[in-house]
Symmetry: C2
Subunit: 240 residues, 2 copies
């Protein structure tokens, strides 16, 4: 029953804290860092921001629990996939973008626009992440291929293949998810590529990138805006 | 690479969440509950309380990390033991007692008195807990004996035996701590009893119980005060 929150042992080419220090240390130091962040936020003495961050961290935790509940379930739909990544990833990105607007007393329009930018950036980022888990070069991404499959995560490339792929390809994906096994990883990758699951997910990511950029319409030209635009482009163009 | 934050598999006679649902679920649902508590606190809109709770949760996390760092270390002193339990347990009890005084606009004297009550109650409670890990009846406590030894936790009954016990008894404790092993549990229990480690720890717990009760001097007679007195008595008298 050895199960981490996430079984990946490599991040950016280096061992994860969990792999290096063990589960107990990683969880406890994680708690320490989280409580320290809470301390720093309280020092800002902005009740609206605290309220927003409290809601956000709760939604993120909810997303992680939801993802875990759906692991190994081949019946997960694209809509349910979006529910998970909006919580576990997009809510974090949205809060990171909305927070500074709140702290700088921008109006609710600007706050909503920046939250929207962050939300779509997060969705695009996560979709590309889920593609790279099958197509990435471990030498470049610094993490293994197939970790998601080992955890039985029904991500978009697989969901698309199960609905649009051939009967045989769909059956292979269903079985691998239910078994939480990357035993047939190379066949799975072939099936996902053949059925267009990679292309479909990349196109969805591009759509969210465009929505993210649209969210920046209210932001005046500035080096900061240029950086946000570049970030949205990088989130999709990245191969690592 | 042991897996849990705490290896106990039983609490109050029932399997722990970790033993029952696995590590990932337990950690993630724990995160969810923590973030939900943060949400509820923010709703109280009391910045002093938020500040205090942020500091407290940080100190608790620090205590857990400290305890982990000192696992398997037979050189830990009574003073270092106190550092750990003041953080991991007493800070939680103190905040639980001080919080209501803050919310009800009591003055700083009353706040400090109740924090003091909680702090000493927490220390007494933890010391008795550390005794019960060697002397408790699993049928009554609902948890195994010897879990602390298996984790190499240098708790007060052991620390006392290493300083005041015979050379042989002290050596046995040192070795068991360093090995993080309850292989010689019955010999360890005999050694701790023979050297007075149980009695010493119980007496220390009683001293903190008395300090806790002294902290209640400012509190007027009331059913609530009676309950706090009874709680301090129960914390030490309990066999479960």
């Amino acid at each position: 029953m050895t199960t981490w929150v996430d079984i990946s042992t490599l991040r950016r080419g280096r061992p994860t804290a969990n792999a290096h220090f063990g589960n107990a240390s990683s969880v406890l130091v994680g708690d320490f860092i989280y409580t320290r962040a809470f301390q720093l936020m309280v020092q800002l003495a902005n009740m609206d921001l605290l309220d927003h961050m409290a809601d956000t961290t709760n939604v993120i935790a909810e997303g992680e629990v939801l993802q875990l509940m759906r692991a190994g379930d081949p019946s997960v739909t694209e809509c349910q996939y979006l529910e998970v990544i909006e919580r576990k990833t997009a809510a974090l990105f949205a809060a990171a973008c909305k927070g500074p607007a709140m702290l700088n007393d921008h109006g609710s329009d600007m706050q909503a626009a920046l939250a929207d930018y962050g939300r779509h950036l997060g969705i695009a980022f996560q979709m590309v992440d889920d593609v790279l888990d099958y197509t990435g070069d471990p030498e470049v991404t610094g993490k293994q291929v197939g970790d998601d499959l080992n955890e039985g995560k029904p991500t978009l490339p697989l969901i698309y293949t199960m609905t649009a792929g051939s009967t045989t390809d769909a059956a292979l994906i269903r079985q691998s998810l239910a078994d939480k096994s990357s035993e047939h990883l190379s066949d799975v990758i072939t099936a996902v590529r053949r059925s267009g699951g990679i292309e479909y997910t990349q196109n969805q990511a591009l759509e969210h990138q465009q929505k993210a950029l649209a969210g920046l319409a209210l932001v005046g030209a500035s080096p900061a805006k240029d950086a946000l635009v570049a970030l949205a482009e990088l989130a999709v163009a990245r191969n690592r």
